[in-house]
Structure formats: structure tokens, C-alpha cells
């Protein structure tokens, strides 16, 4: 009797296993389950500065680009020069990955070098001084002889930034032609001295998520209105 009883238990267990397995497999066949992950990462911005003297692109290997200081060296007195100010063109391309706002700041340092000649007509140690400009009005970057493209119409603020007056939609390419040439500085050469003028030109591009301009840039809520 004990032998028969233990066999019945075994049969019951086996039957239960079979029952569960059959149900599970049958169910699994008629149900499809798909699982996927979506990974979200904060949006960034892709910005390129395109700078040319005529058709020659200014790259980091250009003789007119100072890698260490990240400035372009522009000749502002000799129109035959390869890097003459009249040949300069600067554009900015941006593809924001989130809705953004942008501001730029042009940092142009105008250096006038005056070299005196001694009594033998030989040059002495040059004297270098910075030159400042008054605002030239429409068509010129403020306080500079660099000219802006007619399509470039930012809001020039007192903090010396030029604020692009539009919201940049995500995943859209925007191009701003910022600088199109410029006027030379009127240098002088006479019996006593010779002058040259060079511009060291840097550019700050600042892009932020569009709704953060008050917190990050300290602007009034109505600034863009």
C-alpha cells in the first residue's frame, strides 16, 4: 500500500509539472512581449565658425591663426596683403539639439605699431599702442571698423554681446554671416616714422537652452520683446 501511495504522489507531481509547462508554453506562443530602452541625453549644440580671406579658409594651420590665443590676425593697412581686412569673411553655423538662444561677442584688438627712424634712417624699437574706435553706425560692428552683413541684425546690448533675435529650433541648421570685410585703419608713413596696423580678432559664441536666458545671461524677461 505504501508503495502505491508514493507512486500516486509521484504521478501527481509529474502531472502538475506537465500541466504548468503546457499552459506556460501555450500562453507564450500566443503572447508576444517586446522590451526596449529609450535613453535620453541632454541636448547639445554643434557650432562651426567659417572664416575666410577671400576664398582661402582660415584653419588652425593657417599662418593667420594664432592657435595659442585662438585669434585671427588681420592686416588692417595693406590691401595687397593676403590677410587684408577687406578680404575677411566670418560666418557662424549652428545646429542646436535643443531649442536654443545664441549670443556672440567679437573681440577685436587693434594694434597700431609705429616705428621711428633714427638719425641714420634705421628703425628703432617699435612702439605699439591700442586703437579704439567710436561707433560707426549701421553696417559696422559696434566700436569697430569691421563691417557686418546686411542680414545680420542682432540686438547689441551694453554688455558688448550681440544677441541673435530669434529662437533657434532644434535640429535645424542656422547660418549667420557676421563679418563681411572692414575698413582699413589710416596709417601714416613719413620721414620720421612708419605705421602699421594689425587686428587680433577673437570670437565668443555662447549658446544656451532657450528658456534659460534670464538665469544664465541675467537679462530682463522682456529683453527680446
Amino acid at each position: 500500500m505504501t508503495f502505491l501511495k508514493s507512486n500516486w504522489i509521484l504521478i501527481t507531481v509529474l502531472f502538475s509539472i506537465l500541466f504548468l509547462t503546457t499552459c506556460t508554453l501555450t500562453y507564450a506562443y500566443y503572447v508576444n512581449q517586446e522590451s526596449r530602452g529609450i535613453v535620453l541625453v541632454s541636448g547639445s549644440f554643434e557650432v562651426s565658425v567659417l572664416a575666410y580671406f577671400d576664398e582661402d579658409e582660415i584653419t588652425v594651420e593657417s599662418p593667420y591663426y594664432e592657435v595659442e590665443n585662438q585669434v585671427i590676425v588681420v592686416n588692417a593697412f595693406d590691401e595687397t596683403s593676403q590677410n587684408y581686412i577687406g578680404k575677411l569673411k566670418i560666418s557662424i553655423e549652428i545646429i542646436p539639439r535643443i531649442t536654443a538662444r545664441m549670443r556672440i561677442q567679437l573681440q577685436d584688438e587693434w594694434l597700431l605699431t609705429r616705428t621711428f627712424l633714427d638719425e641714420n634712417g634705421l628703425p628703432t624699437v617699435p612702439v605699439v599702442e591700442s586703437v579704439y574706435h567710436t561707433p560707426k553706425g549701421e553696417g559696422y560692428y559696434p566700436f569697430s571698423l569691421l563691417k557686418t552683413d546686411s542680414s545680420f541684425l542682432p540686438i547689441y546690448a551694453s554688455d558688448s554681446y550681440a544677441y541673435i533675435d530669434e529662437v533657434l529650433n532644434k535640429n535645424t541648421l542656422y547660418r549667420y554671416d557676421v563679418i563681411i570685410g572692414g575698413d582699413p585703419y589710416p596709417v601714416r608713413s613719413n620721414y620720421y616714422y612708419t605705421e602699421t596696423c594689425m587686428v587680433r580678432l577673437g570670437l565668443i559664441i555662447d549658446v544656451i537652452q532657450a528658456n534659460r536666458f534670464q538665469e544664465l545671461w541675467g537679462l530682463e524677461e522682456t529683453f527680446y520683446n
Binding site: L4, N7, I11, L14, F15, L18, F19, T22, C23, T26, Y27, Y29, Y30, V31, N32, Q33, E34, S35, R36, G37, I38, V39, L40, V41, S42, G43, S44, R97, I98, T99, V167, N169, K170, N171, Q209, A210, N211, E221
Partner: protein, 220 residues
């Protein structure tokens, strides 16, 4: 006295018969029956293809346009009118293969990160045409969901309830073989909801999506 071997044979045969019946009963339960003059059973496997933002959705999908917003000023008041454009939009197409039976999709979206993401789930429709305009007035929709609530927690709860009801509604829709169901998830980062604000811009946030497709006749 009955021979014990006979007993075992009877028991084994009974077990086999029962197992066979179980399979048939389950089979019938999960199988779509076409109503024809002569009943036939169709028992194809359910197959689903997934697409996310027009890309095949096989592995994890990385979306690099998450923007963090201020809950009150942006999400609720839309102070600068930018909340719609700041959303990360995820369009998911769930295509039931032609060989699958009539089915229903049970969708679950689980936020695996512990910190705040704000989700708005929308049903776009079945078998959309190229003329379909996807929902993009998120703020207007949010206002219909949240306007009667005062505190942030109440609003978060109301939004979760709304999302759950959308997903629940999807599970009642019968999907025919070859049909494509489309849903949209709009996501924002909740800056105020971040527990750890340092380095939040370089962190990654994960949503886990599970789609269980079941024979429409197999569930009540």
C-alpha cells in the same frame, strides 16, 4: 486483483489524454476563430515590429535632445512660450505582422531613473497616413489635464493618472494584422525634481518600454 502494470498504463494514458486536452483547450482559448460556414482554426504566432522616430527599434534608442525645464515657470505657465518646442518627442510605431492574429497591445512605460522626467503620452492613431499631423500643442493638452490642481505633487499625480489611462485605453483597441499603432511620448527634464543637480547635464535618463501583444480573443 488488478495487475499493477495495467493500473500504471491506465494512469499514464489518462495523463497523456489530459495533457492533450489541456493543449487543445488553451489553443482554442488563445486562437482567433474565423466565422465561416465551416469553422477553421488559425494559430499563427504574434509578431510585432517596432519603430522609434522612423528608425528600426531593435536595441536601446538614444535621444539627445532632452531639455530641463522649470516646473512652475515653464511647464505650467509656459513663461516664454517655448515648452512645446523644448519637448523631446518620441514617436513609436507598433506594427503587427500580417500573419499575426487580431491582437491587442498592452504597453507599459517605466521610468527607470530615480530623478524627475516629465512624460506626456499621447495616442496618435492606427494606420496613419502621411497627412497626419502629430500632436505638438503639448502645453494646451497639459492645461486640460492639470489646470484644476494646485500643488506640484497633485499635478504630477494627475499626469501619471492621465498617462496610465491613455495606455489602458490602448489595450482596448483591436489591432488587425498588418496594422500600425502609433503613440507619442513627449518628455521634459524636471529641473526642480532633480535630487542631484551637479552634473545633471551629463547624466543619462532611461525609459523602459514594454509592449505585450496578446491575441484579442485571449484576454477579457
Amino acid at each position: 486483483m488488478v495487475n499493477p502494470m495495467k493500473k500504471y498504463i491506465i494512469v499514464i494514458l489518462s495523463v497523456l489524454l489530459l495533457t492533450g486536452s489541456l493543449f487543445s483547450i488553451s489553443f482554442a482559448w488563445f486562437t482567433y476563430i474565423k466565422r465561416k460556414s465551416v469553422a477553421t482554426f488559425v494559430s499563427n504566432e504574434i509578431l510585432v515590429d517596432l519603430e522609434v522616430n522612423d528608425a528600426i527599434f531593435i536595441d536601446d534608442y538614444v535621444l539627445s535632445d532632452l531639455a530641463f525645464v522649470d516646473f512652475q515657470n515653464d511647464f505650467i505657465e509656459d513663461q516664454y512660450g517655448l515648452i512645446d518646442s523644448l519637448a523631446s518627442s518620441i514617436i513609436i510605431n507598433i506594427e503587427l505582422s500580417n500573419s499575426s492574429p487580431l491582437s491587442r497591445h498592452f504597453i507599459q512605460i517605466q521610468e527607470l531613473s530615480t530623478e524627475g522626467l516629465l512624460l506626456l503620452i499621447m495616442y496618435e492613431g492606427l494606420d496613419l497616413t502621411s497627412e497626419h499631423v502629430f500632436e505638438s500643442s503639448y502645453h494646451a493638452l497639459l492645461m486640460t489635464i492639470l489646470s484644476e490642481y494646485a500643488t506640484k505633487q497633485e499635478m504630477i499625480d494627475a499626469l501619471e493618472l492621465y498617462n496610465s489611462s491613455v495606455l489602458e485605453g490602448l489595450s482596448t483597441i483591436l489591432v488587425y494584422p498588418g496594422s500600425v499603432m502609433t503613440i507619442q511620448i513627449a518628455v521634459w527634464g524636471d529641473y526642480d525634481g532633480l535630487i542631484e543637480k551637479d552634473g545633471y547635464l551629463s547624466d543619462t535618463y532611461r525609459l523602459d518600454l514594454t509592449i505585450e501583444s496578446i491575441n484579442a480573443r485571449g484576454v477579457s
